[in-house]
């Protein structure tokens, strides 16, 4: 009986563990470190909205200026302990809002560790856009989408379970509050939990100290590997200085290479089937 009880409890634990982590997105911190001009940990102290100047056919576009109080510089040179990032998207004076599909959303008071690249030039001045932002909440690490940042048994850094925490899933633009709504449905998967992933059983949620240590060690390795690649200096932008947005440059692409349809030998019966399906617009129900 004790054996049965143990098996049931073990099953319960495995089921719970398997549900705890359903993810596999890997973060290549080494590569991100190589790409970044600046890596720091800080707290958002201001979020301001400014529009670019009209230029040619390009109308003024709203931008968001996010100013950090920098608390720890992991890579790069900073002359000041404040740093301002500029993102395409934000609020106009008329109250219209423009957002970009992958753009991170910042609130005053957010604590982040960010990998900066192309500030003042790029529409989204972070390595991999929102991928280059790691949020710190109660000492634990999350990504822009409210997923835990975890480390698995092999040492890989991955995105984990989505946390339904207000601070992670809501943001403000001006005084208006928005939130990301994850609409949940009960799983009805046929074979128990076919979609569960077991590869991260044993992975643990990273805290700020462990993650910062990992980033530092990756930066050291990146500097040893390619010392020239990390010399470009990141510059803070001045939110009060006029600026222009990059004008759209639409292009036409050459036609892709001609389709290659390898000849497949078919019997007369098979050819008839293919013809019948083509005739019915691909309908597999043939009369």
């Amino acid at each position: 009986m004790k054996k049965k009880l143990f098996l049931v409890m073990a099953g319960t634990l495995l089921a719970l563990q398997a549900h705890a982590y359903q993810f596999s997105g890997k973060y290549d911190i080494g590569k991100m470190s190589e790409e970044a001009n600046l890596v720091f940990r800080g707290t958002v102290i201001a979020v301001d909205y400014r529009s670019s100047r009209a230029k040619g056919q390009q109308r003024p576009l709203p931008h968001t200026f996010v100013t950090f109080q920098v608390e720890d510089v992991l890579h790069g040179d900073l002359k000041s302990n404040q740093f301002t990032l500029r993102f395409l998207g934000g609020k106009t004076k008329k109250g219209e809002i423009m957002m970009t599909s992958a753009q991170p959303k910042f609130d005053v008071g957010d604590q982040d560790l960010v990998f900066v690249k192309g500030n003042g030039i790029s529409e989204c001045p972070l390595v991999g856009c929102s991928q280059g932002r790691f949020r710190i909440l109660n000492g634990l690490l999350y990504n822009e989408d409210g997923q835990q940042i975890v480390q698995d048994e092999k040492g890989a850094i991955k995105s984990g379970k989505t946390e339904a925490l207000e601070a992670l899933n809501s943001f403000h633009i001006g005084k208006q509050r928005f939130s990301r709504l994850h609409h949940k449905e009960r799983s009805k998967d046929g074979n128990g939990y076919e979609i569960r992933r077991d590869d991260l059983v044993g992975a643990y949620h990273l805290d700020e100290g462990s993650f910062t240590g990992l980033v530092r060690s990756n930066i050291t390795k990146a500097l040893q590997k390619a010392p020239q690649s990390m010399r470009e200096v990141a510059r803070s932008v001045d939110k009060n200085r006029p600026f222009s947005a990059v004008q759209s440059k639409p292009v036409a692409l050459p036609e892709p290479e001609a389709d290659f349809d390898p000849a497949v030998e078919m019997s007369e019966e098979e050819l008839n089937e293919v013809k019948a399906m083509e005739k019915s617009g691909g309908n597999p129900v043939l009369k």
Binding site: F23, H183, E257, S280, V285
Partner: protein, 382 residues
């Protein structure tokens, strides 16, 4: 003790049953969501990027048509224009430009949370394929990323949907959210995004069922990741051995072996559907009801949760040895439901029969000549 054990067993079952998967994502704004105020909008396509006669224009039309098959009846009407597009001009536009991500959507909304503009920019530096021929598609050994799936993902943003990580979904990793049967691989909007469109814009009367050989495998940040459905050993649930042919897993099976066929079933429409699914073996990758029927199953599908499941079928003993076949399934195999699309009702998994000693057993085939009745000349001339 028995009660204690029973309680733990129930708890154990509940731990599994009450698990949820997240579905579509939207942006809550005030008491509602960020969305358009009406279901019909104009999408201006720049002729400089989508010239008449180009395959990119055909791909654009394909993708918009697939979006327009959403269960809410939301419709984008394409208008071609040679006016150079730009962000913030009050028109929703689509064009191709050198940007770093494969596609970006910039969307605008006003103080009432109503969208006023959605601009889609597709990247010019990606090696795209605009073909629906699967051999051109990088999922099937080709070189190109399917333009239609990425554009459809961006069109999802353009109606108000966000990224989705926890279910098989076009709003996750787009290129392997695709339907394939025979030599054709087509982009499609899919159940979860369609469900999201109904949440935002209300239901229409459209119905559509589908089967694909792709499924949710995990997430990469905010994006769901997908992989091929598999063939499993029913007793161990372990994937059967396979080799790779044009990036497709071709499973090695024995004649007479029972296998678990894993596929993903979707209800992209509005109403619960209860339909027959037929499982077939085919001598080619076109699965149809003309193939050999192996089994039939009744399946109930509600239009709110992508359903990946497997079903046992037995490989017929009379297949040829060391030969390629394709196992597959057809949903609504009697064609009783009138659907938006019928082409997405079947898909396949490649197999190859193993050689074993039973292959040496020779079964003679004696041709039988039908007897011709002897008739009198008076009858023969009727």
């Amino acid at each position: 003790m028995n009660k204690y054990l029973a309680a733990i067993s129930i708890f154990s079952a509940l731990a599994i049953m009450t698990g949820h998967v997240n579905a579509y994502t939207t942006t809550a704004c005030g008491g509602g969501d960020v969305k358009w105020s009406s279901k019909t909008r104009t999408l201006y396509a720049y002729t400089g990027s989508f010239p008449s006669g180009s395959s990119y224009r055909t791909a654009l039309i394909d993708a918009v048509n697939r979006l327009n098959e959403n269960a809410a009846g939301f419709t984008f009407n394409i208008v071609y224009t040679n006016t150079v597009p730009s962000l913030g001009n009050g028109r929703s536009e689509v064009w191709i430009e050198n940007i770093s991500p494969p596609g970006v959507t910039n969307y605008w909304w006003n103080g009432s949370c109503n969208m006023t503009e959605a601009d889609i920019r597709m990247d010019s530096s990606v090696t795209w394929t605009t073909s629906t021929l699967k051999t051109a598609n990088w999922n099937y050994g080709g070189a190109g990323r399917p333009f239609q799936t990425t554009l459809l993902h961006e069109l999802g943003h353009a109606i108000g949907l966000g990224h989705e990580a926890d279910e098989y979904n076009i709003m996750g990793q787009d290129w392997d959210h695709i339907h394939t049967n025979g030599s054709t691989a087509r982009a499609y909007f899919g159940e979860d995004a369609s469900d999201g469109s109904v949440y935002l814009y209300g239901a229409s009367s459209d119905q559509d069922l589908g089967i694909v050989h792709w499924k949710w495998t995990g997430s990469s940040g905010a994006y769901s990741t997908h992989g091929r459905t598999r063939l499993l050993d029913p007793s161990t649930n372990i994937e059967l051995p396979y080799d790779l042919v044009n990036e497709e897993r071709r499973y090695k099976v024995d004649r007479g072996q029972t296998v678990k066929v894993e596929l993903t079933y979707e209800n992209n429409g509005n109403n619960y559907q209860y339909q027959d699914v037929g499982y077939y073996v085919s001598t080619n990758d076109y699965i149809s009801t003309w193939d050999t029927l192996l089994a039939t199953r009744n399946l109930g599908l509600s239009p709110d949760n992508v359903y990946t499941s497997s079903y046992n079928v037995t490989i017929p003993g009379d297949l040829s040895c060391s030969t390629n076949y394709w196992l597959g399934a057809v949903i609504d195999k009697d064609g009783s439901l009138s659907e938006n699309n019928e082409w997405n009702n079947a898909s396949y998994i490649p197999i190859r029969t193993n050689w074993n000693w039973s292959c040496l057993v020779f079964v003679p085939v004696i041709p039988l000549t039908p007897l011709t009745p002897i008739v009198t000349s008076s009858l023969a001339t009727q």
